[in-house]
């Protein structure tokens, strides 16, 4: 993969990229950005760079219009027009302040049949815009739309700054319970982060975000409670986890101004289903049309809390399984998010040789992301390096397996294996518990929708081999990405979506796994690395 060496002010950033994109599009996936006033059409001429070395496409008509012949001769180009064709070195002449907000790498994948008719909006301004927000524990994703055309104009994702108060929901809730001041601070942090993301869109895309007259927000229950400052103390009481949690759906009127959208904007927080099932899951079910057909379908939204829904053709069973963050590769010794330098795929190349695929082909890799971890464990089990109980079988290395980059600290330890076992057992036991409740066998499932970042890169064969996913035909699995944002987009844009959401809300039956009599037994049986169908046999 070719390399861009980008200089801005005094910083240098190496960026691996696929050819066929503009420099600006490539930069937008990093923390180094160019200023822009026109969303990259070549109309504003702000995103000047200087090509120091390397080559690319010839200057476009827009560049000839914006840049003098002297400048062009000196190698000045517009980042939104220049497409590097190989290794290049560039200098950003008009860098934007570094931003923590990155463009989403990929569009949300879903069938066209899943799109709903649009709603009619009052024509208050020439271009009415709306924003959909998925407020996650780790990440915040948002997208800006033209409400009249339904076109997605821009999107951003970034880190939820509340992670300062703890990476998991429970720690944050406890912190918020300690003092009203901390609770208020946590709510503020999210508003500030959203305002930054919106400001980032405004300054880099040249979009007047004050024309955004609608904002729709979904999230898990704890995030919604912390944001609205209501009900978070209730979530510390497990008897409330199955209850509806009061959530003000219309926030205070000053939010519009604080967020940098229209001061009178119509802001809607979609209420969660219950203490442990948020409106992010509801939105995901809406986007995937899980309950539309008569055939059984399963939906799994992977995260630290993995939410699972089973539609058996007549009833909708919903639960949440707390498996820990192994799928996000948090807490794994060489774990990292699915970013540049992460091993995301491990396959066999010949009998005993493993082949590793690394995002952006970095060598040596920087770490292992969730899908890479699942792949690696599946390969090690197949090669009898790891037993189905999670024991390293080599007498010379009983506590870790080193990846073939000596001295780079790339290994997985017994502890990592334990974390993955617990995470996958929680999910698999949750799926099994729902199937048992509906008296369905896994083979009856016609669709299995896998959502979340992990659900985008996962290799289904590996996940089936270690017993994370049901052992059924590959073609029944759909890798869906961020379904919560997709559903939130439906709620923002469609007249039918809100009704459908209420339909899903009223028919969902909550299942609390801790109240299922044999759940401990199910969990134990699913700790083994073996396909799910065999998992019920105790050793």
């Amino acid at each position: 993969m070719p390399l861009i060496t980008a200089h801005a002010n005094s910083t240098v950033l190496p960026i691996h990229f696929q050819t066929g994109q503009t420099l600006r599009a490539i930069l937008d996936t990093t923390t180094m950005r160019v200023r822009s006033g026109c969303r990259g059409t070549g109309a504003c001429g702000l995103c000047c760079i200087r090509l120091v070395a390397g080559s690319g496409n010839a200057p476009t008509p827009n560049e000839r219009l914006q840049l003098s012949p002297e400048k062009l001769t000196a190698g000045v180009r517009l980042a939104c027009q220049f497409q590097p064709s190989g290794d290049v070195t560039v200098e950003l002449l008009n860098p934007a302040p570094p931003s923590d907000w990155k463009s989403l790498g990929q569009e949300i994948l879903r069938p066209a049949s899943c799109l709903l008719p649009s709603r009619s909006f009052p024509l208050t301004t020439a271009t009415s815009m709306g924003i959909a927000v998925d407020l996650g524990t780790t990440n915040i994703c948002l997208a800006l739309y033209n409400l009249l055309t339904g076109q997605r104009l821009s999107e951003r994702s970034g880190i939820n700054p509340q992670s300062l108060f703890g990476s998991d929901v429970m720690t944050r809730l406890v912190a918020a319970a300690e003092s009203a001041e901390i609770a208020g601070k946590m709510s503020d942090m999210v508003l500030v982060a959203l305002a930054e993301a919106i400001q980032d869109i405004s300054s880099r895309e040249g979009i007047d975000t004050s024309q955004a007259i609608y904002l729709t927000l979904v999230g898990n229950t704890a995030m919604l409670a912390l944001l609205t400052g209501k009900g978070h103390e209730l979530l510390l009481r497990p008897e409330m986890w199955e209850q509806a949690i009061p959530c003000p759906t219309v926030p205070p009127s000053h939010w519009g101004a604080r967020l940098g959208i229209h001061a009178m904007a119509n802001i809607e927080v979609i209420a969660p289903l219950a203490g442990f099932v948020g409106s992010d899951l509801l939105a995901g079910l809406l986007a995937m049309h899980l309950t539309k057909r008569e055939k059984p379908a399963l939906f799994i939204d992977f995260g630290t809390n993995t939410e699972i829904a089973l539609w058996d053709g007549h009833q909708l069973l919903v639960t949440s399984a707390a498996g820990g963050p192994a799928f996000e590769s948090c807490g794994i010794s060489c774990g990292m998010p699915a970013e540049s330098g992460a091993i995301y795929r491990v396959t066999h190349q010949g009998a005993d040789t493993l082949s590793f695929e690394v995002i952006d082909d970095l060598s040596p890799p920087r770490g292992l992301c969730g899908s890479g971890l699942v792949d690696l464990v599946a390969c090690l089990c197949q090669d009898k390096i790891l037993s189905d109980t999670g024991r390293f079988l080599s007498p010379s290395s009983p506590v870790e397996y080193c990846l073939p980059w000596p001295g780079k600290g790339l290994s997985i330890t017994k502890r990592d294996i334990d974390m993955l076992q617990r995470a996958k057992a929680a999910v698999a036991a949750g799926v099994t518990a729902l199937l048992n409740k509906a008296a369905l066998s896994a083979s009856a499932l016609t669709r299995v929708c896998l959502a979340g970042a992990f659900g985008k890169y996962i290799r289904v064969a590996s996940a089936k081999a270690i017993g994370l996913l049901p052992d059924i035909d590959d073609n029944r699995f759909e890798l869906c990405g961020n379904t919560a944002l997709a559903g939130c987009e439906d709620l923002l844009l469609s007249s039918e979506a809100a009704d459908r959401l209420e339909g899903i809300r009223s028919e969902a039956e909550l299942i609390n796994l801790s109240r299922i009599a044999d759940f401990d037994e199910l969990f134990f049986n699913h700790l083994f690395f073996r396909p799910m169908t065999e998992a019920s046999h105790d050793s």
């Binding site: 429970m170 720690t171 809730l173 406890v174 510390l236 009481r237 497990p238 008897e239 109980t389 999670g390 024991r391 009983p398 506590v399 330890t413 017994k414 502890r415 294996i417 334990d418 076992q421 617990r422 801790s514 401990d520 969990f523 134990f524 700790l527 083994f528 050793s539």
Partner: protein, 209 residues
Amino acid sequence: MEASVMEPLVSALLMGERAEALAAARQLLAADISRERIITEGIEPAMTSLDEKCTIEQFNLLEIMLVGRALNAVVDLLYPEGTSPPATRGTVAVASLKGDIHDIGKKIVIIVLKANGYHVIDCGKDCPVDRLVNTAAGEGAMAVLVSGLITSVIPQIRQLKDALREKGCSHVKVMAGGAALKQATTDDLQVDYVAQTAFDGLHFLRALS
């Protein structure tokens, strides 16, 4: 020589092989080796070895649970229901408190303590403070153990010493452990000990008697 007689049992226990452990124990019984010897020279050394290996993270949750199952099967074989249990090092009451429905950690503690000769009363998960304290008082427990995976149980833990004192049980020690509690201090939690692992807890109990 003694060690080699016990070796098959010890190794089957450590591998978590229930059937093999049972077969090994049956062979020992058939060779007229006493139950007490099987406990002190078979099961306890196996637990010591598990203790050492857990410290260097050679065992994961599944393996410990498999060891626990094998161990329970052997103890049930040696002391079938109705026969008098082996003399105990003391009685302890164990619980996850009201609101905490996680009990994997608690199960590991129970396995470790039982295997080391303690009489363990499991008050279960989601257990109110009253029930735990009444059980401890009624059974003459030497200690009360609470396992916590969520921090929201902390206020209940802070009530334990007082609740025990009200029952005239101020001599009963209170020990806390589990993911949500092990970073806390004894003062924070108002307990006598905060155990980092099941074995750490065992060492504390041993030092009491």
